[in-house]
Structure formats: structure tokens, C-alpha cells
């Protein structure tokens, strides 16, 4: 009897949730609404029958058909893809090597500097990077006559992709413990064999996650590309920008929706890869 009497208030006390704050769940829901509602509306109106992007007339896939058939969009997509692929490869190789040298060791002379240099592109406002790079390539052309054409864009993208590739790779490496590599060394593996057969396979999910993020960041870049792109170097975001100036239409919504879906798929993949354990 006594124990039952004692357990009732205890149960009530346990029901008192000390973590709860009233109204915070509502704010979280509001945040999600703010973040997702505009995107959802944009996607919804890409299926609109008429030219309006705010008055619903009926369902149609016409705008997607038009977007896919558009020669300019195809060219822009090809440019975007080329630039993003090259930038991703450069950034991922640089970031992987740098991450190997700056993780899981005691601090060494130059480590902090390296870390800061690698992450610098995150600290500089995009518009500043954009005009600085514009000046740089203009000077390079004026002084030495060097221009890499679309390579200018690839290099510029590679620079700001480095930290985006570096951070997930570094996170992965820091989660790995040293014992497996030590075991390989005990079994007379050379440092290269150890790297090739033990370290690299273990860090691969991090590398893939980093490369995916670098690709997404390059593929979506607008400001820097806008400043640097010469004629014939239109990327998808630049194409969207120029069509916006000509007027809003569901075709822009359709193109935007495709880009959004690509980003969402890649980021989801990167997120899942980054979380996967051994």
C-alpha cells in the first residue's frame, strides 16, 4: 500500500519535463515553414498551365518540356557540369592531402597557418572574392596575355570549394582511430601500402561526402561566376539570372526545380555517407 502511494507522486514528478520550454516547438515549426514554403510554392508553380507564377490554372509538364528542349539551357548545363567537375577534382585532391597532414597529429609548425589558409575562402564575402578574382585575371591577361578561358572559372571555383571539401574529410579522419594503421605497420606494410589499403578505404566516405559538397557549391555558385564569366561561359545560375531580367515565367521555375532537386539528392547522399560508420 505504502509503495503504491509513494509511486504516484513519483510518476507525476517524472512527467514534469525539465527540458520543455513553452512555445519553442511552435517556433521550430515556424522556422521550417519559413525555410520550405517558398521552395514548395516555386516547385508547385513550375507545373502551372499558364504563364503565371502566382495564379494556379491547371497541371501541365509543358515548362519542363520547353526547358529540356532549350539549346541555351543545354549549353549552360554542359558548362556548369564541366566547371563543377574540374573544380571538384582539384578541390578534393587538395583537401584530402591537406586533411591528412592536419589531423591526428601533434601540432606542428605551420599547421595553424595551413588550417587558416585552407579555410580562408569561407571568411571572405563572396562579392569581395568575385571582384578580387576578376581583377587578378584581368591583370594576368593585360600583363602576360594569359587567359584560360573557361579554365578561369574552374580555378576560381576550385578555390572556394577547398574548405567545403576539407571539413567533412577532416571530420571523418578525426573519427578514425590510429590502431588499424599501426597494426598494418606492425605487419610490415610500407607507409604507402598502409595508406592505400587501410587509411584510404577508411576515409573514403569522408572524401566522397566532401567531393559531393564541393560539387554542389560549385554547381550552385552565382556571384563569383557572374563577375568572371565571359561570353559563351554561361552557367545554369547565370542563365536563370538573365532570363529573370527578361521576365518571370514558369520555365524559370521548372529549371530552378531541377537544380533544387539535384542539390537535394547530392546533399542527402553526402549527409548519409558522412554518417556511415566503418
Amino acid at each position: 500500500m505504502a509503495s503504491v502511494a509513494a509511486s504516484a507522486p513519483e510518476r507525476r514528478r517524472r512527467r514534469f519535463d525539465l527540458r520543455k520550454q513553452p512555445g519553442f516547438g511552435f517556433m521550430a515549426a515556424l522556422c521550417l515553414l519559413v525555410l520550405y514554403a517558398p521552395i514548395m510554392v516555386l516547385i508547385a508553380y513550375s507545373f502551372n498551365e499558364t504563364r503565371s507564377v502566382s495564379q494556379w490554372q491547371g497541371f501541365s509538364l509543358d515548362w519542363y518540356v520547353k526547358a529540356f528542349a532549350n539549346k541555351e539551357i543545354q549549353e549552360a548545363a554542359w558548362n556548369s557540369l564541366q566547371i563543377a567537375l574540374v573544380a571538384t577534382v582539384i578541390a578534393t585532391v587538395c583537401a584530402t592531402m591537406a586533411a591528412l597532414a592536419t589531423t591526428r597529429t601533434r601540432p606542428w609548425r605551420g599547421m595553424t597557418t595551413s588550417y587558416m589558409v585552407v579555410n580562408l575562402p569561407l571568411m571572405v564575402p563572396e562579392i569581395v572574392t568575385a571582384i578580387a578574382t576578376l581583377i587578378f585575371f584581368a591583370l594576368l591577361y593585360a600583363a602576360l596575355g594569359i587567359s584560360f578561358g573557361i579554365g578561369n572559372l574552374m580555378i576560381a571555383h576550385a578555390v572556394f570549394c577547398v574548405p567545403f571539401a576539407y571539413l567533412p574529410i577532416r571530420a571523418r579522419l578525426e573519427d578514425m582511430d590510429r590502431t588499424l594503421e599501426q597494426a598494418a605497420a606492425d605487419l610490415y606494410a610500407t607507409p604507402w601500402q598502409t595508406f592505400r589499403r587501410v587509411t584510404l578505404p577508411l576515409m573514403m566516405p569522408g572524401v566522397t561526402a566532401g567531393a559531393t559538397l564541393a560539387f554542389v557549391v560549385s554547381f550552385d555558385d552565382f556571384t563569383i561566376t557572374l563577375m568572371l564569366a565571359g561570353p559563351g561561359q554561361t552557367t545554369l545560375p547565370i542563365y536563370i539570372w538573365t532570363s529573370l531580367r527578361r521576365g518571370i515565367s514558369p520555365e524559370i521555375n521548372a529549371m530552378s526545380s531541377i537544380l533544387l532537386v539535384i542539390s537535394v539528392i547530392l546533399v542527402t547522399a553526402s549527409f548519409l555517407l558522412g554518417r556511415r560508420r566503418k
Binding site: 527540458r19 521550430a28 592531402m97 593585360a142 537535394v264
Partner: protein, 325 residues
């Protein structure tokens, strides 16, 4: 006698061996250091040459004369910086008149970025707290939901907001249809529109660091507060918020820096009427063709960012000193 010599020999051998080990260690340390530099070299070259190099050239350009059709003339001049605060008298070239038009744009940028940061904090803090108090299995999903929009194209997201807020966008249409307003609320191309755009763009950057620090919160301290008869409000104010201060500072910096340098949002949402410093910089390379002035403005923007960063590091080190001291 012999025993002593033997001992001596032994000792000498030992010290020789030690020296050899030392040398081996030193040379292996040197080799290790070489490997490290080789590994970081590509990243340093790419970012150094094409990231830091351009910034230095930009600094140089800000001290040159503008060329007639863009570009520069190679003559030293501080005009770009003088131009920021003064304009030359029309009739007397040597007279300088104070002008606040550029200062006002910088001021507006700081103000808009600041307001955006505060609203992000008000919206983001409860969200981050709510995420941090979910069961562990749900938290990662919440983080994913909040991060996802950040990785999608900023131009497209801003366009999405633009379409909604327009005079014949769905918000105004809905309000008109319900009879709440008789004519559309003209929100586009105002400072309000820019703030909404910035808020929408950078909200995830506020939530994530807040979440990171709230997730580590020791709830025994909260329990102690309740045991001492504190209400929910005072527990929040006197325990939870002070403990998550590092996250608050980090979130505010992460939102403030991109917000003050924003280009896409004020261009689209402000319609080129309400300029922020990012637009002003871009203009010097598009229509106005005054490269040195653009470079100088970019450096002024970098200075503001640097001050914000210094504020952050000073705060972080003080926090650490408080923890360890």
C-alpha cells in the same frame, strides 16, 4: 680496475647508441615535417595563388587611378579612399566637400545585417533548443532538415521569396481575396524585402551553432534550478541562455558576415533601388567602371568583417580563459 673500464666502455657504447637513436629520431622528424609540407602544398598553392593573391592585388589596385574604360592607370593615388568620404567641388578641383552618400550605404548594410541577425536569433534560438531536446535518434534528421535549404541555390531561393512577396504574388493575392486589404501591400524593393530575403537566406547559419552548443548543455544544472524553485522562464534566462553564449556569438557572427556582404539578395529583393555595399562594389565593375574605388570599398567591407571576427575570437578566448582559469 678492469671492472671500471668495462663500465666505462659500456657507458660510452650506451651514449653512442643514444646519440644514434636521437639522430634517427631527428631525421625521421625532419622527414615527417617534409611529408606534411608536401601534403598541404597543393591546397596552399591553390588557395594562396588564386585566393590570397587576388586579395593582395586588389589592395594594390585600390591605390591606383581609374582607367577610362574600366581597369586602372598605373599611378599612385589615394583618391579611391578620399572619394568614399568627400567629393570634389565642381568649380574648384582642390576643394573637398564632405559627402555621406557612400557612408549611408555602408551604414544601411550594417543596420540591415544587424536586424537580420537579431531576427534570426529570435527565430533560431527556440528552434535550436527544440532540436537539442529531441530524442537522439531524431536530432540528426532535424539537423538535416535545417541544413538542406542552405545547400540549395541562393539565387533560386531568393527568386522563390521574390515571387511570393510580389504585388501579385500569392501572399498579396490571398489577402486581397480574403478582403483583408483593398490594394496589394507594396513590400518588394524595400528594406523590409531585403531583410526578409537575408533572413531566409542565412537562418540555417544561426540555428546550427546554437544547436551545437545547446546539445552539450548539462541538464543537471537546469534540474538544480527547478529544485531551487525557479520558474521555466527564469531557468531559461539565468541558466540556459548564459550557458549557450558561445553558440549565440558564433551564430550571430556566421549570419552577420554573409549578410553584410550580400549581393544576390539586395539586388533581387531591393530591385537596384535599395543598395547595400555589395551592390555598390559590383557597380564599380559594371556600370560606373571605377575599379580602384570598387577595390577600396571591398577592403572597407573586409575591414568590417575583420572587426566582427576579432570580436568573436576575443569572446571565444575569454570564454576559454573563464573555463580553465
Amino acid at each position: 680496475m678492469t671492472a671500471l673500464t668495462l663500465g666505462e666502455v659500456e657507458r660510452r657504447r650506451l651514449s653512442e647508441a643514444e646519440a644514434r637513436v636521437d639522430q634517427a629520431k631527428r631525421s625521421s622528424a625532419a622527414r615527417q615535417q617534409r611529408t606534411r609540407w608536401t601534403l598541404v602544398a597543393p591546397a596552399l598553392i591553390v588557395v594562396g595563388l588564386f585566393g590570397i593573391g587576388p586579395l593582395l592585388i586588389m589592395l594594390l589596385y585600390s591605390f591606383l587611378e581609374p582607367g577610362t574604360y574600366g581597369g586602372v592607370r598605373w599611378e599612385f593615388s589615394t583618391d579611391a579612399y578620399v572619394q568614399f568620404l568627400f567629393e570634389r567641388d565642381l568649380f574648384d578641383e582642390t576643394k573637398l566637400l564632405f559627402t555621406d552618400s557612400y557612408l549611408l550605404i555602408v551604414g544601411r548594410s550594417i543596420l540591415l545585417a544587424f536586424v537580420t541577425t537579431i531576427i534570426c536569433l529570435i527565430l533560431g534560438y527556440p528552434t535550436a533548443y527544440f532540436m537539442a531536446t529531441r530524442p537522439a535518434s531524431q536530432r540528426n534528421f532535424w539537423v538535416f532538415l535545417i541544413t538542406l535549404p542552405f545547400w540549395t541555390n541562393l539565387l533560386i531561393r531568393t527568386y522563390a521569396m521574390f515571387v511570393i512577396l510580389r504585388d501579385d504574388g500569392i501572399i498579396n493575392n490571398a489577402l486581397l481575396n480574403m478582403g483583408l486589404i483593398s490594394s496589394p501591400i507594396p513590400i518588394m524593393f524595400t528594406d523590409y524585402a531585403i531583410t526578409i530575403g537575408l533572413l531566409y537566406a542565412f537562418l540555417p547559419l544561426m540555428v546550427l551553432p546554437l544547436y551545437a552548443s545547446l546539445e552539450k548543455l548539462d541538464f543537471r544544472l537546469v534540474e538544480a534550478g527547478f529544485d531551487l524553485y525557479a520558474s521555466r522562464g527564469s531557468v531559461l534566462r539565468r541558466i540556459i541562455v548564459p550557458l549557450s553564449k558561445p553558440g549565440i556569438v558564433a551564430g550571430c557572427i556566421l549570419v552577420f558576415i554573409p549578410a553584410i556582404g550580400a549581393y544576390v539578395t539586395p539586388t533581387l529583393m531591393g530591385g537596384g533601388k535599395q543598395l547595400m555595399i555589395g551592390n555598390l562594389i559590383a557597380l564599380q565593375f559594371q556600370g560606373a567602371r571605377n575599379w580602384p574605388f570598387g577595390a577600396a570599398l571591398a577592403l572597407i567591407l573586409m575591414l568590417v568583417v575583420l572587426i566582427a571576427l576579432l570580436f568573436y575570437t576575443r569572446n571565444a578566448t575569454r570564454q576559454q580563459a573563464a573555463l580553465h582559469g
